[in-house]
């Protein structure tokens, strides 16, 4: 069979994998942003106990690989009767990982708000909450956008690791097909194209965002 036929035949399968990769990424990213924002706010307002717990979570999550986190969820937890299907494991694992990255992204933005802005705010008598509401958050969110976008790209790429717990996303689809038909060139080509379709536009957007925010911050 010609390469072209191989590719054509595999197209429906790759389409399924492609959609699943997108879908899992989307849920993972949204979940990560929520978890990250919560952790970052706990840190910003120095909430007792919860702030500490969030900080510990961030360190554990950031300093261990997703693959090991997934193995834990998928193989170790069921021993104690806590069983999730593969896709749920993937989503939970991705959010566990992504939450800390997003938290760091938000922290970076809030820390990036210039000291003089904060002091000016204090000087006109804003309370801590008002300072956050009117000065730090609006500027901080803008500053954190490039980091958040970079994290999104990172998380989408990390979904390729889901293949180790046999979630039929893009990478898993390709590896399965290679295992069955030994046409590695064609299937790897499809795999690369699949990720390129998702990630090239995003990385172009990221470059633009980075420039915008950099020029924007010169305004002060």
């Amino acid at each position: 069979m010609s390469s072209w036929q191989i590719i054509q035949q595999s197209l429906p399968l790759f389409e399924k994998g492609f959609v699943l990769t997108l879908w899992l990424s989307l849920i993972g990213i949204i979940g990560s942003i929520i978890v990250g924002l919560i952790c970052s706010l706990l840190k910003y307002f120095q909430v007792p106990v919860l702030g500490k717990i969030a900080a510990i979570y961030v360190e554990i999550s950031r300093n261990t690989p997703l693959l090991v986190q997934l193995f834990f969820l998928y193989y170790a937890f069921p021993v104690f009767g806590f069983k999730l299907n593969a896709e749920m494991c993937g989503i939970v694992g991705l959010i566990f990982l992504g939450g800390s990255y997003m938290a760091e992204g938000f922290n970076g933005g809030f820390d990036g708000v210039s000291k003089t802005q904060v002091e000016t705010g204090k000087a006109i008598g804003l309370s801590r909450l008002q300072l956050a509401r009117y000065v730090v958050f609006p500027q901080g969110f803008t500053l954190s956008v490039p980091a958040l976008a970079a994290n999104m790209i990172f998380l989408i790429k990390e979904t390729s690791i889901f293949t180790v717990i046999a979630i039929p996303e893009l990478t898993n689809t390709a590896l399965d097909l290679i295992g069955m038909y030994y046409r590695s060139n064609e299937y790897l080509f499809m795999l690369v194209v699949g990720y390129a379709i998702i990630l090239i536009p995003l990385s172009i957007i990221l470059t633009i965002l980075e420039k915008r925010v950099r020029y924007g911050s010169f305004g002060n």
Binding site: E59, T171, I178
Partner: protein
């Protein structure tokens, strides 16, 4: 608790085997990092040169390694090197190569970013005392760039170490692969052993990565404080 799961670690040579696997992991990471960081500095310097063609080619290289997930890179090299290029390398060398090239790509961007953020006047002061381009990089720009980007470089190191967890995918006998074998071999006797085996691997990665990222964070914080006066 005769069969408490934790004992799986002390059964036979299990613990030694796990540390043996960890050694393979560390070895691959270390070699890849040394090669990748050196190549990355060279590429980063080249990316600040005026030649448009050179910059374009190196940018393409960076974007390719940045956009394709590392898992996919591993398989690309794993299948394509022997098939298309007739190069038959053992899996751990394929992995070392992939990680080194990936590290070099990321490092080149870090170095380039640092070099172009060295103030223009530094470059001119160097030129004013007659330094050649090579001397300018050697004595003025690279030393400043390196200290500027040390935190980013350390973070890259932690990323590479975490990424070594993918080694098992191309059947390198790394710590995770060994762990899987230990779990399978002892599953009957220690049903909860899986928790402890993956648990200790989890801890191993954390113990290696956490001090590094703590160090990088502390340096960043100090710099921020200094910048704010």
């Amino acid at each position: 608790m005769a069969h408490s799961g934790i004992n799986v670690l002390f059964e036979g040579r299990n613990l030694i085997r796990l540390f043996g696997g960890l050694w393979t992991t560390v070895e691959i990471a270390a070699v890849a990092l040394v090669l990748g960081l050196i190549l990355g500095v060279v590429l980063g310097v080249l990316r600040t040169f005026p030649s448009r063609l050179l910059r374009f080619v190196l940018r393409l290289y960076l974007e390719f390694f940045r956009i394709i997930p590392t898992v996919v890179l591993l398989f690309l090299f794993y299948y394509i090197l022997p098939k298309q290029m007739g190069v038959n390398l053992p899996a751990n060398q394929v992995a070392t190569l992939v990680f080194a090239l990936w590290t070099a790509a990321e490092m080149s961007d870090i170095v380039r970013g640092a070099l172009i953020s060295v103030p223009k006047h530094q470059r001119e002061s160097g030129m004013a005392i007659g330094l050649s381009r090579w001397q300018l990089y050697r004595y003025v720009l690279i030393p400043q760039a390196v200290s500027l980007e040390l935190p980013a470089t350390i973070n890259l190191v932690t990323r590479v170490i975490k990424t070594t967890s993918l080694l098992m995918l191309i059947s390198v006998m790394d710590v995770i692969n060994v762990g899987q074998q230990v779990v399978e071999a002892n599953n009957q006797k220690y049903p909860t052993g899986v928790f402890w085996v993956y648990g200790i691997i989890f801890v191993m990665y954390f113990v290696i990565d956490y001090p590094l990222s703590w160090w990088a964070k502390r340096m960043d914080k100090k710099r921020l404080e200094r910048a704010n006066g």
